[in-house]
Amino acid sequence: MRAEMGVGAKKRALVIGAGGLGCAVLPLLARAGLETVVLDDDTVSLSNLQRQLLFATADLGRPKADAAAERVRALVPGASVEARLERLTPEHAFDLLEGIDVVVDGSDNFPTRFLVNDACVLTGTPLVHGAILRFTGQVMSVRPSETACYRCLFEEPPPAGVVPSCAEAGVLGALCGIVGAWMAWSATSLLSGADAGNDLIVHDALAGTTRVVGLGRDPACAVCGNTPSIRSLLTERYVEAQACVA
Protein backbone atom coordinates (compact mmCIF):
# COMPACT_ATOMS: atom_id res chain seq x y z
CA MET A 1 0.00 0.00 0.00
CA ARG A 2 1.10 3.57 -0.51
CA ALA A 3 3.01 5.17 2.33
CA GLU A 4 1.71 8.34 3.95
CA MET A 5 3.20 11.35 2.20
CA GLY A 6 4.36 14.25 4.32
CA VAL A 7 3.21 17.81 3.75
CA GLY A 8 5.08 19.27 0.78
CA ALA A 9 6.36 15.88 -0.36
CA LYS A 10 6.44 15.57 -4.11
CA LYS A 11 4.00 13.29 -5.79
CA ARG A 12 5.45 10.25 -7.54
CA ALA A 13 4.29 8.78 -10.85
CA LEU A 14 5.14 5.37 -12.28
CA VAL A 15 5.22 5.51 -16.07
CA ILE A 16 4.88 2.13 -17.75
CA GLY A 17 6.80 2.11 -21.02
CA ALA A 18 9.16 4.63 -22.60
CA GLY A 19 7.52 4.32 -26.01
CA GLY A 20 5.42 6.80 -27.92
CA LEU A 21 3.12 7.57 -25.01
CA GLY A 22 5.74 7.32 -22.27
CA CYS A 23 8.03 9.75 -24.11
CA ALA A 24 5.24 12.32 -24.41
CA VAL A 25 4.07 11.94 -20.82
CA LEU A 26 7.44 12.02 -19.03
CA PRO A 27 8.48 15.61 -19.86
CA LEU A 28 4.98 16.83 -19.02
CA LEU A 29 4.94 15.15 -15.63
CA ALA A 30 8.45 16.43 -14.93
CA ARG A 31 7.45 19.99 -15.83
CA ALA A 32 4.45 19.60 -13.53
CA GLY A 33 6.89 18.93 -10.69
CA LEU A 34 6.26 15.23 -10.25
CA GLU A 35 8.91 12.67 -9.47
CA THR A 36 8.78 9.88 -12.02
CA VAL A 37 9.85 6.28 -12.35
CA VAL A 38 9.95 4.95 -15.92
CA LEU A 39 9.81 1.25 -16.68
CA ASP A 40 11.06 -0.21 -19.97
CA ASP A 41 13.36 -3.13 -20.74
CA ASP A 42 13.80 -2.42 -24.44
CA THR A 43 16.46 -0.56 -26.45
CA VAL A 44 15.99 2.34 -28.86
CA SER A 45 15.50 1.21 -32.45
CA LEU A 46 15.29 3.26 -35.64
CA SER A 47 11.57 2.77 -36.18
CA ASN A 48 10.96 4.24 -32.70
CA LEU A 49 12.30 7.64 -33.75
CA GLN A 50 9.26 8.53 -35.84
CA ARG A 51 7.28 9.18 -32.62
CA GLN A 52 9.37 8.66 -29.46
CA LEU A 53 10.48 12.22 -28.94
CA LEU A 54 12.95 11.69 -26.13
CA PHE A 55 15.35 9.76 -28.39
CA ALA A 56 17.89 11.26 -30.76
CA THR A 57 19.49 9.36 -33.62
CA ALA A 58 22.60 9.00 -31.46
CA ASP A 59 20.58 7.05 -28.87
CA LEU A 60 20.05 4.03 -31.13
CA GLY A 61 20.82 0.82 -29.25
CA ARG A 62 20.67 2.42 -25.80
CA PRO A 63 18.24 1.21 -23.14
CA LYS A 64 15.10 3.29 -23.57
CA ALA A 65 14.50 3.95 -19.89
CA ASP A 66 18.04 5.32 -19.48
CA ALA A 67 17.92 7.50 -22.60
CA ALA A 68 14.47 8.80 -21.65
CA ALA A 69 15.50 9.69 -18.11
CA GLU A 70 18.63 11.42 -19.32
CA ARG A 71 16.75 13.54 -21.85
CA VAL A 72 14.09 14.58 -19.34
CA ARG A 73 16.81 15.65 -16.91
CA ALA A 74 18.36 17.75 -19.69
CA LEU A 75 15.01 19.34 -20.55
CA VAL A 76 13.69 20.05 -17.05
CA PRO A 77 15.98 21.47 -14.36
CA GLY A 78 15.78 19.48 -11.14
CA ALA A 79 13.72 16.70 -12.70
CA SER A 80 13.66 13.51 -10.68
CA VAL A 81 13.44 10.56 -13.07
CA GLU A 82 14.35 7.03 -12.07
CA ALA A 83 14.96 4.60 -14.92
CA ARG A 84 14.18 0.94 -14.37
CA LEU A 85 15.27 -1.46 -17.10
CA GLU A 86 12.56 -4.00 -16.53
CA ARG A 87 9.03 -4.99 -17.42
CA LEU A 88 6.15 -4.97 -15.01
CA THR A 89 5.64 -8.54 -13.78
CA PRO A 90 3.00 -10.09 -11.51
CA GLU A 91 5.76 -11.06 -9.10
CA HIS A 92 7.08 -7.52 -8.60
CA ALA A 93 4.14 -5.27 -9.40
CA PHE A 94 3.23 -4.56 -5.78
CA ASP A 95 6.86 -3.71 -4.95
CA LEU A 96 6.99 -1.27 -7.86
CA LEU A 97 3.79 0.42 -6.71
CA GLU A 98 5.21 1.19 -3.25
CA GLY A 99 5.28 4.95 -2.74
CA ILE A 100 3.56 5.60 -6.08
CA ASP A 101 0.76 8.17 -6.17
CA VAL A 102 -0.37 7.60 -9.74
CA VAL A 103 0.39 5.07 -12.47
CA VAL A 104 0.48 6.23 -16.08
CA ASP A 105 0.22 3.27 -18.41
CA GLY A 106 1.62 3.72 -21.89
CA SER A 107 2.28 0.04 -22.49
CA ASP A 108 1.65 -1.51 -25.89
CA ASN A 109 0.26 -4.95 -25.11
CA PHE A 110 -2.90 -6.26 -23.52
CA PRO A 111 -1.49 -8.58 -20.84
CA THR A 112 0.48 -5.65 -19.37
CA ARG A 113 -2.55 -3.37 -19.47
CA PHE A 114 -4.59 -5.88 -17.52
CA LEU A 115 -1.74 -6.49 -15.08
CA VAL A 116 -1.33 -2.75 -14.49
CA ASN A 117 -5.05 -2.35 -13.98
CA ASP A 118 -5.38 -5.22 -11.56
CA ALA A 119 -2.33 -4.19 -9.57
CA CYS A 120 -3.66 -0.64 -9.27
CA VAL A 121 -7.11 -1.76 -8.24
CA LEU A 122 -5.74 -4.19 -5.67
CA THR A 123 -3.50 -1.48 -4.16
CA GLY A 124 -5.94 1.38 -4.58
CA THR A 125 -3.51 3.32 -6.77
CA PRO A 126 -5.01 5.82 -9.24
CA LEU A 127 -4.30 4.92 -12.83
CA VAL A 128 -4.31 6.63 -16.19
CA HIS A 129 -4.61 4.31 -19.18
CA GLY A 130 -3.76 5.40 -22.69
CA ALA A 131 -3.57 3.56 -25.98
CA ILE A 132 -2.90 4.40 -29.61
CA LEU A 133 -3.39 2.48 -32.84
CA ARG A 134 -3.25 3.80 -36.39
CA PHE A 135 -5.00 7.15 -36.19
CA THR A 136 -7.03 6.52 -33.05
CA GLY A 137 -6.20 7.14 -29.43
CA GLN A 138 -7.98 6.69 -26.14
CA VAL A 139 -7.47 7.81 -22.53
CA MET A 140 -9.23 6.93 -19.30
CA SER A 141 -8.61 7.69 -15.64
CA VAL A 142 -9.31 5.15 -12.93
CA ARG A 143 -10.01 5.78 -9.26
CA PRO A 144 -10.01 2.17 -8.07
CA SER A 145 -13.30 0.90 -6.66
CA GLU A 146 -14.94 4.27 -7.31
CA THR A 147 -14.87 4.63 -11.08
CA ALA A 148 -14.75 2.15 -13.97
CA CYS A 149 -11.46 0.31 -14.23
CA TYR A 150 -9.95 -1.05 -17.43
CA ARG A 151 -11.46 -4.46 -16.76
CA CYS A 152 -14.94 -2.97 -16.29
CA LEU A 153 -14.65 -1.87 -19.90
CA PHE A 154 -12.61 -4.66 -21.49
CA GLU A 155 -13.28 -7.85 -19.58
CA GLU A 156 -10.53 -10.02 -20.99
CA PRO A 157 -7.59 -9.56 -23.36
CA PRO A 158 -8.52 -10.35 -26.97
CA PRO A 159 -7.00 -13.51 -28.47
CA ALA A 160 -3.63 -13.05 -30.15
CA GLY A 161 -3.86 -11.83 -33.74
CA VAL A 162 -7.31 -10.27 -33.43
CA VAL A 163 -6.15 -6.74 -32.71
CA PRO A 164 -2.95 -5.76 -34.50
CA SER A 165 -0.25 -4.38 -32.29
CA CYS A 166 1.38 -1.08 -33.13
CA ALA A 167 4.11 -2.99 -34.92
CA GLU A 168 1.77 -4.39 -37.50
CA ALA A 169 -0.73 -1.64 -37.98
CA GLY A 170 1.31 1.53 -37.83
CA VAL A 171 0.57 4.71 -35.92
CA LEU A 172 0.57 8.46 -36.58
CA GLY A 173 3.45 9.88 -34.56
CA ALA A 174 1.79 13.13 -33.53
CA LEU A 175 -1.07 11.15 -32.01
CA CYS A 176 1.33 10.22 -29.20
CA GLY A 177 1.47 13.86 -28.20
CA ILE A 178 -2.28 14.27 -28.24
CA VAL A 179 -2.93 11.17 -26.17
CA GLY A 180 0.16 11.73 -23.99
CA ALA A 181 -1.01 15.27 -23.21
CA TRP A 182 -4.40 14.00 -22.10
CA MET A 183 -2.70 11.31 -20.03
CA ALA A 184 -0.49 13.82 -18.22
CA TRP A 185 -3.44 16.16 -17.76
CA SER A 186 -5.47 13.25 -16.33
CA ALA A 187 -2.64 12.31 -13.97
CA THR A 188 -2.38 15.80 -12.49
CA SER A 189 -6.16 15.96 -12.28
CA LEU A 190 -6.27 12.69 -10.33
CA LEU A 191 -3.53 13.90 -7.99
CA SER A 192 -5.36 17.13 -7.28
CA GLY A 193 -8.26 15.10 -5.90
CA ALA A 194 -10.61 16.03 -8.72
CA ASP A 195 -13.56 13.81 -9.56
CA ALA A 196 -11.75 12.25 -12.49
CA GLY A 197 -12.78 8.97 -14.03
CA ASN A 198 -15.72 7.35 -15.77
CA ASP A 199 -14.86 9.03 -19.06
CA LEU A 200 -13.22 7.36 -22.03
CA ILE A 201 -11.79 10.01 -24.33
CA VAL A 202 -11.53 8.74 -27.91
CA HIS A 203 -9.77 10.73 -30.59
CA ASP A 204 -9.70 10.14 -34.35
CA ALA A 205 -6.80 12.09 -35.81
CA LEU A 206 -7.83 11.45 -39.41
CA ALA A 207 -11.35 12.72 -38.91
CA GLY A 208 -10.09 15.34 -36.46
CA THR A 209 -12.76 14.46 -33.90
CA THR A 210 -12.89 13.75 -30.19
CA ARG A 211 -15.69 12.12 -28.29
CA VAL A 212 -16.16 11.11 -24.69
CA VAL A 213 -17.84 7.86 -23.76
CA GLY A 214 -19.42 7.80 -20.32
CA LEU A 215 -18.48 4.81 -18.16
CA GLY A 216 -19.40 3.42 -14.81
CA ARG A 217 -17.94 0.89 -12.44
CA ASP A 218 -19.28 -2.57 -13.22
CA PRO A 219 -20.59 -4.19 -10.02
CA ALA A 220 -19.77 -7.56 -11.64
CA CYS A 221 -16.20 -6.59 -12.54
CA ALA A 222 -13.78 -9.41 -11.77
CA VAL A 223 -11.32 -7.13 -9.96
CA CYS A 224 -13.20 -4.06 -8.70
CA GLY A 225 -16.75 -5.37 -8.56
CA ASN A 226 -18.81 -6.20 -5.49
CA THR A 227 -17.62 -9.81 -5.34
CA PRO A 228 -14.26 -9.76 -7.13
CA SER A 229 -12.76 -13.07 -8.24
CA ILE A 230 -9.35 -11.46 -8.84
CA ARG A 231 -7.75 -10.79 -5.48
CA SER A 232 -4.09 -11.45 -6.32
CA LEU A 233 -1.78 -11.28 -9.32
CA LEU A 234 -1.53 -14.82 -10.65
CA THR A 235 1.18 -15.18 -13.30
CA GLU A 236 -0.87 -17.36 -15.61
CA ARG A 237 -3.54 -14.69 -15.95
CA TYR A 238 -1.12 -12.31 -17.69
CA VAL A 239 0.67 -14.58 -20.13
CA GLU A 240 2.15 -12.74 -23.10
CA ALA A 241 0.38 -13.89 -26.26
CA GLN A 242 2.00 -12.13 -29.20
CA ALA A 243 1.05 -12.50 -32.82
CA CYS A 244 4.47 -11.62 -34.15
CA VAL A 245 8.05 -11.77 -33.05
CA ALA A 246 9.04 -8.11 -33.13
Binding site: A167, E168, A243, C244, V245, A246
Partner: protein, 80 residues
Protein backbone atom coordinates in the same frame (compact mmCIF):
# COMPACT_ATOMS: atom_id res chain seq x y z
CA UNK B 1 0.31 -21.93 -63.76
CA UNK B 2 -2.34 -20.77 -66.17
CA UNK B 3 -3.52 -17.19 -66.07
CA UNK B 4 -0.69 -15.82 -63.96
CA UNK B 5 1.56 -13.42 -65.80
CA UNK B 6 5.21 -12.86 -65.02
CA UNK B 7 5.74 -10.92 -61.81
CA UNK B 8 6.09 -7.20 -62.39
CA UNK B 9 8.40 -6.98 -59.41
CA UNK B 10 10.21 -9.23 -56.95
CA UNK B 11 10.69 -8.44 -53.26
CA UNK B 12 13.10 -10.46 -51.12
CA UNK B 13 12.37 -10.16 -47.41
CA UNK B 14 14.33 -13.20 -46.29
CA UNK B 15 16.73 -11.04 -44.30
CA UNK B 16 13.98 -9.00 -42.60
CA UNK B 17 11.80 -9.44 -39.55
CA UNK B 18 8.24 -8.31 -38.82
CA UNK B 19 7.08 -5.62 -39.42
CA UNK B 20 9.78 -4.70 -41.96
CA UNK B 21 8.72 -7.72 -44.01
CA UNK B 22 5.25 -6.32 -44.55
CA UNK B 23 6.59 -2.77 -45.00
CA UNK B 24 8.74 -3.92 -47.90
CA UNK B 25 5.95 -5.94 -49.45
CA UNK B 26 3.70 -2.86 -49.20
CA UNK B 27 6.30 -0.72 -50.93
CA UNK B 28 6.67 -3.38 -53.63
CA UNK B 29 2.91 -3.38 -54.20
CA UNK B 30 2.92 0.42 -54.44
CA UNK B 31 5.45 0.21 -57.24
CA UNK B 32 3.30 -1.99 -59.51
CA UNK B 33 -0.06 -1.42 -61.18
CA UNK B 34 -3.39 -2.88 -60.23
CA UNK B 35 -3.70 -6.42 -61.59
CA UNK B 36 0.05 -6.95 -61.77
CA UNK B 37 1.85 -9.62 -59.77
CA UNK B 38 4.35 -9.10 -56.96
CA UNK B 39 6.63 -12.04 -56.18
CA UNK B 40 7.84 -12.26 -52.56
CA UNK B 41 10.59 -14.47 -51.14
CA UNK B 42 10.25 -15.18 -47.42
CA UNK B 43 12.05 -17.23 -44.83
CA UNK B 44 10.71 -18.67 -41.62
CA UNK B 45 7.36 -19.35 -40.11
CA UNK B 46 6.23 -15.86 -39.15
CA UNK B 47 6.07 -14.21 -42.60
CA UNK B 48 4.51 -17.35 -44.02
CA UNK B 49 1.67 -16.95 -41.55
CA UNK B 50 1.34 -13.18 -41.63
CA UNK B 51 2.19 -11.81 -45.08
CA UNK B 52 -0.65 -13.52 -46.99
CA UNK B 53 -3.07 -12.38 -44.29
CA UNK B 54 -1.78 -8.79 -44.38
CA UNK B 55 -1.95 -8.69 -48.17
CA UNK B 56 -5.49 -10.03 -48.26
CA UNK B 57 -6.43 -7.58 -45.52
CA UNK B 58 -5.47 -4.67 -47.74
CA UNK B 59 -7.52 -5.87 -50.68
CA UNK B 60 -4.89 -7.79 -52.62
CA UNK B 61 -5.22 -11.34 -53.91
CA UNK B 62 -2.87 -14.10 -52.81
CA UNK B 63 -2.41 -16.01 -56.06
CA UNK B 64 0.13 -18.51 -54.81
CA UNK B 65 1.72 -19.37 -51.48
CA UNK B 66 4.45 -21.93 -51.86
CA UNK B 67 6.23 -22.93 -48.65
CA UNK B 68 9.36 -25.01 -48.79
CA UNK B 69 11.98 -26.26 -46.32
CA UNK B 70 14.03 -23.09 -46.56
CA UNK B 71 12.57 -20.24 -48.55
CA UNK B 72 8.90 -19.61 -49.28
CA UNK B 73 7.48 -18.00 -52.37
CA UNK B 74 4.40 -15.81 -52.48
CA UNK B 75 2.62 -14.32 -55.47
CA UNK B 76 0.28 -11.40 -54.81
CA UNK B 77 -1.96 -9.77 -57.38
CA UNK B 78 -2.40 -6.09 -56.60
CA UNK B 79 -5.96 -5.12 -55.86
CA UNK B 80 -7.75 -1.83 -56.42
Amino acid sequence: MRGVSEPARVVDVRAHVCPMTWVRVKLGLEAIREGEILEVWMRGDEPLRNLPRSAAGEGHEVVLCEPSESDHRLLIRKGG
